[in-house]
Symmetry: C2
Subunit: 692 residues, 2 copies
Amino acid sequence: MITIIQLFAIAISVLAFGMALWLYTWVKAQPAGNSKVESIGQYIQRGANTFLKKEYAILARFAGIVAILILLFIPAPIWKGSTQNIVMAVAFLVGATFSALAGKVGIQVATIANRKAAAASQTGIRYAFLAGFRGGAVMGMAVVGTSLLGVTAVFMLTFDATAILGFSFGASSLALFAKAGGGIFTKTADISADLVGKIELGIPEDDPRNPAVIADNVGDNVGDVAGMGADLFDSNVASLAAALVIGLSLDSSFSAKNVTTVFCFASLGLLSSIIGVGTAKMGKSDNPNHALNSSTYVTTALYAILTAVATQVLGFSWRIWAAAAIGLGVGTIIGIVSDYFTNDEKKPVHFVAKASESGPAFTILSGVSYGFLSVLPAMVGIAVAALAAYLVCDPLGPGYAMFGISMSAVGMLSIVGMIISNDAYGPIVDNARGLVEMALLGDKALGITDSLDSAGNTVKAVTKGFAIAAAGLTVIALLGAFMTEVNATANALGMGMQFLTGFDIMNPVVFFGLLVGTAIPAVFSAMLILGVDRNAQRMIAEIHRQFKTIKGLKEGVEGVVPEYDRCIDIAAVGALKELIPAGFMAIISTLLVGFIGGVQAIGGFLTGNIVSGLLLALFMSNSGGLWDNTKKYIESGKLGGRGSDAHKAAVVGDTVGDPFKDTAGPSINTQITVVSLISSLMSTVFLTTSLF
Amino acid sequence: MITIIQLFAIAISVLAFGMALWLYTWVKAQPAGNSKVESIGQYIQRGANTFLKKEYAILARFAGIVAILILLFIPAPIWKGSTQNIVMAVAFLVGATFSALAGKVGIQVATIANRKAAAASQTGIRYAFLAGFRGGAVMGMAVVGTSLLGVTAVFMLTFDATAILGFSFGASSLALFAKAGGGIFTKTADISADLVGKIELGIPEDDPRNPAVIADNVGDNVGDVAGMGADLFDSNVASLAAALVIGLSLDSSFSAKNVTTVFCFASLGLLSSIIGVGTAKMGKSDNPNHALNSSTYVTTALYAILTAVATQVLGFSWRIWAAAAIGLGVGTIIGIVSDYFTNDEKKPVHFVAKASESGPAFTILSGVSYGFLSVLPAMVGIAVAALAAYLVCDPLGPGYAMFGISMSAVGMLSIVGMIISNDAYGPIVDNARGLVEMALLGDKALGITDSLDSAGNTVKAVTKGFAIAAAGLTVIALLGAFMTEVNATANALGMGMQFLTGFDIMNPVVFFGLLVGTAIPAVFSAMLILGVDRNAQRMIAEIHRQFKTIKGLKEGVEGVVPEYDRCIDIAAVGALKELIPAGFMAIISTLLVGFIGGVQAIGGFLTGNIVSGLLLALFMSNSGGLWDNTKKYIESGKLGGRGSDAHKAAVVGDTVGDPFKDTAGPSINTQITVVSLISSLMSTVFLTTSLF
């Protein structure tokens, strides 16, 4: 049944596309920079496209194979007369395609916006800020618009929440490639460029003679803009999928209302983000931090008010509203806590900087310690959010408690349009700063882009914490969705409607899954980090080859340009090559556990994945951010500044932190989501075919 | 009812004491070294005693307070007429005292054996090996004899399995001080001695001018000998306590037989270890690795045979025997896997050494990656052991599955006497090597102690893996014991015998506990590592003071001796001071979770502790061991040897790894056990007083 609220969701999605188009036009209309800015900028843009093309080519093959497997086996073997398989396979492909499109659009605009921001920084901070922010906001609008449109369209066409899980799985698969592949790419380029350029040859960071310099700048875009976008696309869709699956399974007289609530709240979240993005501008203070924060506050407040009005007018339950509000509140708090652990005005950075004076071992030890400490408030926050949402919604009836948790995740992710905009702003102004330096635009422009960049780093810590918290709550909701799917299947097979009432830790099959599941995110992280290492070695060999065979390159002879594309190519191919075994490991271990221990073991396995995944993701993201800012803090002249022993130690910390925070840490989210969705999709198979 | 088997257990304990006495006499009768060996050796012995005295003084106060709290509140408030409280408080004090005594004896002998081994190494390897091994075996015999005696005596006097939990809690509290306090002490001394001695002043590692040099050698003894002994005392007692609590709660017609099985298997394990220790000697190959391994094999085989005979003769269930055998087998396999990740003939060490050529950041990244990978086989091993034990024993009747898991832990820990002997051998010969160097006993002696030391390092990796696996299985059994205790209380309160059938992950209160519990081992580790850092700063200040104020010290004027004791004092007081907040954090978080969420939340909390504790303990122990051996591998002349860039990077890795593997990693075991035992002891309180 097509409802007004679904049409409303589609209308808001279209409005988001309109906003994206307007922002794009605005950015595009900004004055161009000088020829050097344009030429280097275009190298970056072409490089990003090269990576995306490779990535999408491999993804297309992967998605093709998976789609065939879905067609054959999911939700049940097709030769047993299941026709739902066709819908699932199509939904999967649409999910992957939609996410890929949003990423493509976002990166296209980001690689234009960086040039515009660089050019604008010659005249003043306001337009430079706006070019960066609005460039990033295109990504925000595209991602959330596409995800809401996709979920609504699939639901309207199929009336089947399980199909949304297929759509979500498509988005997750793309996210795995974008986030983990992009993460390996960006750190490969970063590390190789630094090792050969700065350390071996002693040339500056962004020296155009370095064959890896463009790859390094491309990396910021593919890792941070496209990767983060795909990650949050994934979480957003997964949270909606979980809420719809659970909401529909409840007492049938209310299930329509539950669906309405989900679409309504998601639409209002996007609407709030559209308005929030529109209000973002530099106030009189010329403080970019202020501008970013105030638009986030506008979005949050607007969301709370709009959903409250909707609840009153449309007669939704206030308990559901409260669950969503709790999610949003806790997400914000966790973001702020992440900021504490990585902000260079707070104790952790000062402590690690001081410890660095005793050598790099102490940089690592103190950073690891604060990274471990940072886990507690976030875990407690997620725990309290889940508990509170559960308790608030439990009185609504059986099953509503878990629906409350899923709505809490939807609430937390409601402002995701704004979050992505803030997050994509970071790499754009970071790139702009690089362009200002490479194109020698002068000290004023450098000062302005420095200040924009610094705000980008601060906001990045907050958005990363937010992304992990959102993924955490989402995967808890997915665990609920898994149980719902199992029960639906069990019911269809005549095994009873309440076949599965939970996962008992004291059941050894659950415990078996739990222990194995706990190890998976650690192994996945290790494989990605080792992948960066191996890939960097390939790239270093290529850089050496270029310096050896291209005459005049090392000497900087006018007109001699390195083969940037070769480096981008190597980093891209290698990144995807390194990613695939890690992805397969996660998928195959899920299948093994499922076939050995059935749905009970999978319940434990997912739980193990969630808890150790959250632990490691928070640890790695926060310690990585802490080391990064410690280095910058020392470079700002503290504790001896650049070249001091403390600085050398901090550089070691930063190099360790790079793959922690940009490759492994944030990819874990996606790994968990992929594993959760596969489990839900395979529930019928695991239920009917397992050893125990 | 006093049974023959209990008298047998006491007899075997006494036999172990006899063996310890014989070994002690043998060690004592070995020829003394020259005056320099004796004088430095006595400094170490006095230093170790100083630490123990401080530790036990603080422990006594702590234990006194806890005993009063137990008296007042556990198992139920004393003003409500509970008289069991007196028994519990006494059992607690006896547990702490017994473990302390075993530690005291062990360290006393270890600090004699190191001198004897140093002296013997001048003439040949055989007696040097025996001095080291038999010195360590005193610890092994003392620990296992005392723990079996204690458990048996408490049980015979009270006929109450809960009292054994009290005894176990006493042992755990001592272990927390010994392992975590000793771990902070040893790394404080190690790092401070290196930083000032080797790096600032450029004097050799074991130079007697360095005021911290004795503290460094003392650290090996208090951290590795006393700490590891207390840790395994703790696990051993906890596994017996869990098995007795669960075994007694089962079908009453069989509960006596279950108790008999527990005592019988534990006694036969100790008997096997006694014989195994007796057979240890150097074969014709002069290979210390061989000698250590062959006596372990003797013990294992003997245990399997003896328990099989007992099962046949006394009519025990073969299923229980199989569960114990599974535990022992898996423990051995996990030990071997740990060895792979830290052995310098295997790929991980070679890979990290090669990566070190690119700088310290790559040492860290590759070491962290392999540390993460090492988690998988051990987790899968524990998971399979628990699952197999459960499935094998499930047909015996309701509740027997969990009894099977606890017997699997008992089986794994049966050869603990041998394991401790092997483990304590390591620091003794390490110290002997230091004495040979400091007393200039010549190249032959140095070569011999080098070879003994290298065998010690290899066996240490295996025993550490074993200790973590044993703790893992034990805490799973303790989770079962906790449930049993709750049900016993619930039954007494008229809430039904099957009040608690498990902990459902989908229960939000359980999930709340799970998420919070997951964070605790990370926070605990961070607090210990930061404690090492702070304590090292205090000690460095003291070393600086001595070099400044003691005339002639830096120049090495004959007869000028630094104030070694001051350094030992500072390290000892500081270590205990740093430990206390970490211990309180773990205890208070347990109480908070219990008072908020009751027994359900505690079930989740303990599970979270177990999974993240195992994850982090395995990761930190293995990556630390890997870095240590990577440094040694390079120092053996590979990749440029000492002084090369790779070596410098490997030194950074080793310094990071030190508190990982010797402070935080192995202390997590104890933290989990303490938390598990408190939960069991507080079960009545949590059951009757909680928010949800």
